[in-house]
């Protein structure tokens, strides 16, 4: 058996570890085991997303039945594929969640207490969300004015919406630079 840390030397040390009452066996070479003995006092997280992912895939919970289709899913921004995500257990960018949403849902349900964030909202997002809501309201009003053929009011609203949209797009450009 090869050492699971360096994958080079023969594993002649077998450590049985308990995490959450479950036993896991770690097989290491002498050199890696010595390193590990000292470093494990650091309590690094050991939750194995990879294991959960693989078991859920095997149970057909995240699209094993249409495996090829699922594996070919790709994030348009960072180009990470769903298959790669399964291997590394990490998402590549802020767009990945949107790209893999349907496949991630069962996984997130298994790990977490709910499927929607209920905690802190960053101040910037707060402002943008508020303005987007305002914008939606104005657009709705515009529709009503047009239907009622109150064109003067409608024109005013249209200008207001255009100004707001312009303002928001230049702001977001400024942020990207």
């Amino acid at each position: 058996m090869l050492c699971q840390e360096c994958r080079r030397a023969e594993a002649n040390i077998h450590i049985v570890k308990q995490v959450n009452g479950k036993q896991t066996e770690i097989n290491l070479c002498e050199q890696c085991a010595r390193k590990k003995e000292e470093l494990d006092f650091t309590f690094e997280p050991q939750f194995s997303l990879h294991k959960l992912f693989t078991s859920m895939l095997n149970q057909g919970l995240i699209g094993a039945r249409e495996e090829k289709e699922a594996a070919a899913l790709q994030c348009p921004t960072c180009k990470l594929t769903f298959a790669q995500f399964g291997q590394i257990g990490r998402l590549g960018c802020g767009s990945c969640v949107g790209a893999f949403e349907e496949r991630l849902k069962p996984l997130l349900r298994r790990i977490h207490a709910g499927s929607t964030h209920t905690g802190k909202v960053p101040a910037r997002a707060r402002i943008r969300v508020r303005r987007l809501r305002e914008l939606d309201k104005l657009k709705e009003e515009l529709q009503q004015k047009v239907q009622k053929e109150e064109f003067e009011d409608a024109a005013l609203l249209r200008d207001q919406i255009r100004d707001m949209e312009q303002e928001m797009s230049t702001e977001s450009k400024g942020e990207k630079e």
């Binding site: 650091t42 207490a113 905690g119």
Partner: protein
């Protein structure tokens, strides 16, 4: 360039609520900067861009005057390892990060890891059971940073993180507990079995059988999505309170039954720590635990929590070599360890004798 010194972090100072059982409380928040690939998938120029962006955004900020910026590539392996051993950075940041850095406040109670698994990991560590206080420190620094940098945030999924286990609040709250009595009377197994059912994770270093080395376990939240930060913190807090109560009861029962042998064990531990000539970290961590229990039960008075925490950290290889000011192999470390332990004990005794 400044060098990392062996200094005491605020969590090591040893005063705080329930300090006889809770060694420290930590809250960490994972954050990513909008428009940048997460570190694990990013090319070197992208992690460098994030590094520079964070450095220039936070560098001159008045709210961050007492912080020092430590780029990982400017630190020696020993310096980095000593930071890991004091729980100020992760092993990942020390070993595997590209353009990784640490922004650390003077008292070492608040810091930010840059280019860890996520662009930013803001964390606060305080002594004793102070989860709410640690969250409010983290929360405030999060607000200050967010004035300068736009976060990757989704209305439905909250703070977007590299690992789906952190998505939502991005919060990992944890406490380090010293539970010698619950481990001695074997009730620990039952507790470890029930905690996952309430969304908590328990970790410790296990030896053969059910022995927990150093009697120290870490309890943390697993859930980050679907609960608010306050719910996560208060859930952990109330479970930890129950564990504290059980440990207190177990200690009392132990004291009633085996007072003399507990005192003997603590004094023997002190004797070995003071006079042994060769010592592994494994032996040292067990002796420190015995001594700590003796002190917490009022059976030995010549030490205190600050000294015990200092010992707990200085016996680790990185800190040990930093103190010795040279690199040491395994064998040399086992010789150096008793030297440094004795010096720390002597420093403490001098302080006590002077009445300070």
């Amino acid at each position: 360039m400044k060098q990392v010194q062996f200094s005491l972090s605020r969590w090591m100072e040893g005063s705080g609520p329930d300090i006889d059982i809770v060694i420290s409380s930590r809250v960490r928040a994972a954050r990513n900067i909008a428009g940048h690939t997460f570190p694990c998938l990013a090319a070197a120029d992208e992690t460098a861009a994030v590094f520079n962006k964070v450095n220039s955004a936070l560098g001159g900020k008045p709210g961050l005057a007492s912080f020092t910026f430590w780029p990982m590539n400017k630190l020696s392996d020993l310096e980095k390892q000593s930071l890991v051993e004091k729980h100020l950075i992760s092993l990942f940041l020390a070993r595997e990060s590209n353009n990784g850095a640490l922004l650390l406040r003077e008292d070492e109670a608040l810091g930010v890891m840059i280019n860890e698994e996520d662009h930013l990991r803001i964390q606060s560590i305080l002594p004793g059971l102070q989860l709410e206080e640690a969250w409010s420190e983290t929360d405030r620094l999060d607000d200050i940073i967010e004035e300068e940098l736009e976060y990757a945030f989704d209305q439905k999924y909250g703070y977007l993180t590299a690992c789906p286990t952190n998505i939502g609040t991005g919060i990992r709250a944890s406490v380090m507990l010293h539970l010698p009595a619950l481990i001695m009377n074997r009730q620990i197994g039952r507790i470890i079995g029930t905690l996952p059912q309430v969304g908590l994770t328990v970790r410790g270093l296990y030896g053969e059988g059910t022995e927990v080395i150093g009697n120290i376990v870490q309890v943390s939240n697993q859930v980050t999505l679907g609960q608010s930060e306050e719910e996560i913190i208060s859930n952990l807090h109330s479970v930890v309170r129950q564990v504290i109560e059980q440990e207190q009861n177990a200690r009392q029962a132990l004291l009633d039954k085996e007072r003399a042998s507990l005192a003997d064990k603590a004094w023997r531990a002190l004797g070995l720590l003071r006079y042994a000539q060769v010592m592994s970290s494994r032996e040292a961590i067990q002796l420190i635990s015995d001594l700590r229990l003796g002190y917490d039960l009022g059976l030995i008075k010549t030490v205190d929590h600050k000294l015990l925490n200092e010992l707990l950290v200085l016996i680790r290889p990185g800190c040990l070599q930093l103190l010795a000011k040279r690199e040491l192999n395994d064998r040399e470390r086992n010789l150096e360890r008793p030297v440094q332990i004795k010096e720390a004990l002597d420093r403490h005794r001098t302080k006590v004798d002077k009445g300070t």
